[in-house]
């Protein structure tokens, strides 16, 4: 069956047809769709785990039990799951285990642009890196056999461009892979020093065996031409840009297996051309390896370690070197400058009312990872920090421990429901256990929002949308040691302010659960849009402080866009002149 697939759907098909029995993941752009597509198959176990570490360990357990398993995460998710990864490298697998990790060069939807290939090198596990959906399918499918043959987890590296680009893929049939028997193997699976010391040499031997796959296997290939003036070593989407510029005019060594890297293949390629370039996004992993072989090569000197490339990046760099890289495309002429259009919180977003309250009261806000990070931008400018999943709560504890009474009464942590499940709970335990008078606001919109509406343990539904066990956030916070726990509706500005001021004034740690479902959820019905009565509007711009995309200001008066407004009523509560209202206003 030939089909146009985004890279992530291709990975899902590859894993499924490769005999996958279990997938456990935590959502994260650009990796989310791998697991979403797998969950459409009813003959496998698919799940959203509370975080990437749990997900990888679930995949480990299934592998131990003899089943082919996988987990998927974004690059920063692999930081969370790094602990199991490094020791999984020692234990190896029973059923094949594939770890899909998606990097985000240019940070379309991330807080950093780290290069996951470092993990493959550091954990000493093989990594495959496809350049398009067709390769993503083939590599994902073959990764299970590679994993089992070499007794190792396999990393499959995606990046935003490949994960979210479509091309035609020929999807085959699902392989029938019987479960392997479970046999107790303490010296393989109990990683205490005595056993682990015996595993480490096996890991080093494995790398050398895998190098033969790198030399002769299906993942790395040379595309030779008659022109030998220079050759390019490249991988992933950089390969596509190189081909876009040079077509078949320049010799290319395409790397599909960035760890372990071949030696002979590279030496032979280098010997066949007069000059060597390495073109890779992010860090100089290939380049440093080539240099370690004592070869002369040009890489990061021309091609930045920052952001994404394109055919233009490659073309411009070679033209600057005086190399013919084809004609420079001509534009039609000068273009008028236009204002930027950064992403923002949606009209009717339940986070807005709480943020307005915090800004109004000049509260210091330690933020977290999710849609609500968008509260950082003008006009709200509500946040003081955003580091990583869970750091709002762990961070406020340290912040208040450092400054004591000076900050305790005017600082809060804000964290979403899914992020709280991911890694907020342990921070909250620390607040209670090591006793700082910290105030935590859980922005509970009953869904994992930013990544496109995934269920989580607080929503009461599983990945398939079936009813599931639901975490009782109030009871949980109390059980973790917080006595003051209260719930507030963020559409009610008065109640928000009362809750925030009272909990900040309290002499002990507290949690405010700001609860209202995401306005984009299908079951949330929008109310009739509100209107501005131009006769009553004095043009004071107070409603503009909310930064709601539905409210704009034209000809001295506020105006509400009826196609965007969901009638949340927050701006109505702010208006001192009763100029905003429903039909009757």
């Amino acid at each position: 069956m030939k089909k146009l697939l985004i890279g992530n759907e291709a990975v899902a098909w590859g894993l499924y047809n490769g005999g996958l029995g279990l997938v456990s993941s935590y959502p994260g752009t650009p990796s989310t769709e791998i697991t979403e597509f797998l969950a459409t198959h009813d003959d496998i176990h698919a799940e959203w785990a509370p975080n990437e570490k749990v997900a990888m360990e679930a995949a480990f357990g299934a592998s131990l039990a003899g089943m082919r398993s996988a987990c998927a995460m974004k690059h920063v998710g692999l930081n969370v799951a790094a602990d199991p990864l490094f020791t999984l490298s020692y234990t190896g697998v029973t059923g094949g285990l594939v770890v899909c990790v998606a990097d985000d060069p240019a940070m379309h939807s991330s807080q950093n642009e780290q290069d996951s290939r470092h993990y493959a090198v550091a954990a000493k596990v093989p990594m495959l890196e496809p350049a398009d959906s067709a390769e993503a399918y083939a590599f994902a499918k073959s990764a299970f056999a590679l994993s089992e043959e070499y007794d190792t987890p396999v990393l499959l590296r995606m990046c935003t461009r490949i994960a979210h680009s479509q091309c035609v893929v020929d999807i085959g049939e699902r392989e029938a892979v019987p479960m392997k028997d479970y046999v107790k193997q303490p010296e393989k699976y109990i990683m205490m020093p005595g056993y682990a010391k015996k595993r480490h040499p096996l890991v080093e031997e494995r790398t050398e065996k895998l190098r033969a796959v790198a030399e002769n296997g299906p993942y790395n290939r040379v595309e030779m031409t008659d022109n030998r003036e220079f050759g390019i070593i490249t991988s992933g989407c950089s390969y596509l840009y190189v081909k876009e510029v040079f077509g078949d005019r320049v010799p290319v060594l395409k790397i599909g297996m960035p760890n372990p890297l071949p030696e002979k293949l590279i030496r032979d390629f280098a010997a066949s051309v007069k000059k060597l370039y390495v073109i890779e996004e992010l860090d100089p992993i290939l380049e440093n390896h080539v240099k370690s072989l004592g070869l002369e090569v040009t890489g990061k000197k021309l091609f930045s370690a920052i952001g994404e490339f394109s055919q233009k990046t490659i073309r411009d760099a070679f033209l600057a070197e005086g190399i013919d890289a084809g004609p420079v495309p001509e534009t039609c002429g000068a273009v008028p400058a236009v204002p930027g259009r950064p992403p923002m919180m949606c009209a009717g977003c339940p986070h807005r009312g709480m943020y307005y309250t915090l800004v109004k009261n000049k509260i210091t806000v330690l933020g977290d990872i999710g849609c609500y990070t968008l509260g950082a931008v003008p006009p709200l400018n509500a946040l003081d920090s955003t580091l990583c999943m869970g750091a709002s709560i762990s961070g406020i504890h340290g912040f208040n421990a450092a400054r004591g009474k000076e900050t305790e009464g005017k600082t809060v942590a804000v964290i979403g429901d899914s992020t709280f499940m991911h890694s907020g709970m342990t921070g909250l335990v620390n607040v209670a256990y090591n006793a700082t008078n910290s105030t935590v606001i859980i922005l509970d919109n009953s869904i994992t929002g930013m990544t496109g509406h995934q269920q989580n343990p607080t929503t009461g539904y599983n990945i398939k949308g079936d009813p599931a066990s639901k975490v009782d956030l109030e009871a949980l916070c109390k059980a973790l040691g917080i006595r003051r726990v209260r719930v507030v509706d963020p559409y009610d500005l008065k109640a928000c302010e009362e809750a925030v001021l009272e909990e900040l004034a309290a002499e002990e740690p507290s949690v405010i659960i700001s609860r209202r479902p995401c306005v984009l959820l299908k079951y949330v019905k929008a109310k009739a849009p509100l209107k501005v009565d131009p006769a009553k509007c004095r043009g004071c711009r107070k409603c503009m402080k909310l930064g709601c995309p539905a409210v704009s200001f034209r000809e001295g008066k506020a105006r509400i866009d009826a196609t965007l407004c969901v009638g949340c009523g927050v701006c109505e509560q702010l208006c001192a002149f009763s100029a905003i209202g429903g039909e009757e206003a």
Partner: protein
């Protein structure tokens, strides 16, 4: 054959993803090698979004850069200007004249630029502008702007209308098919 490049640009939430999937499906069925590049995640939240569709005999890069684009379909007026530098000489921009204020305009830090399409035309850009919102509402939903625009654009490719209708059936859920057929027809007829 030369690779043809199309960019679909607009504001997150306007449905550029569906439009690009419609075009991608149509071109794949025509037997072309096709690459489509989408935007997911944070940028979708009301930000400026761009989707690339490229087709031909063999397509490598999934993205389009300066001076390379044959057609830009802009779902919003000022977004047309934002991406116009990608248009090649002889390329064409199709623009929905709908204005959606970006945050700098909403908060009063900038004004919505006046006369940008006129400026583009004066600079030598081939701009076809029309109001896609009114026909979308007529078809049944302001959200159908994407399909109205694809109907308007369809004529540029020279493929028969039945093939587009077939692609519509493939990518649109049965529940919304009738409305989108109407939206497509209104766009097609607006040329």
């Amino acid at each position: 054959m030369k690779t043809t490049s199309v960019m679909i640009v607009g504001v997150g939430g306007q449905g550029s993803l569906l439009a690009s999937r419609l075009l991608g499906t149509l071109l794949t069925d025509e037997g072309y090698d096709v690459k489509v590049s989408e935007v997911h995640g944070m940028s979708q939240r009301g930000g400026s979004v761009v989707t690339y569709v490229r087709y031909g005999e063999k397509v490598y890069s999934p993205i389009v850069t300066e001076g390379e684009c044959d057609y830009i379909i802009s779902f919003e007026k000022l977004e047309a200007a934002r991406y116009a530098s990608c248009l090649r000489k002889g390329g064409k921009i199709i623009v929905n004249t709908q204005e959606i204020d970006p945050m700098p305009v909403i908060i009063g830090a900038a004004a919505y630029p006046e006369g940008i399409l006129e400026e583009l035309k004066a600079a030598g850009y081939d701009v076809a502008d029309f109001d896609a919102l009114t026909p979308a509402v007529e078809a049944g939903s302001a959200k159908a702007v994407n399909i109205v625009l694809m109907g308007y654009f369809a004529g540029c490719l020279g493929l028969p209308r039945e093939k587009w209708e077939k692609a519509l059936e493939k990518v649109i859920k049965p529940k919304f098919l009738e409305m989108n057929r109407k939206a497509f027809a209104l766009g097609w007829e607006a040329v």
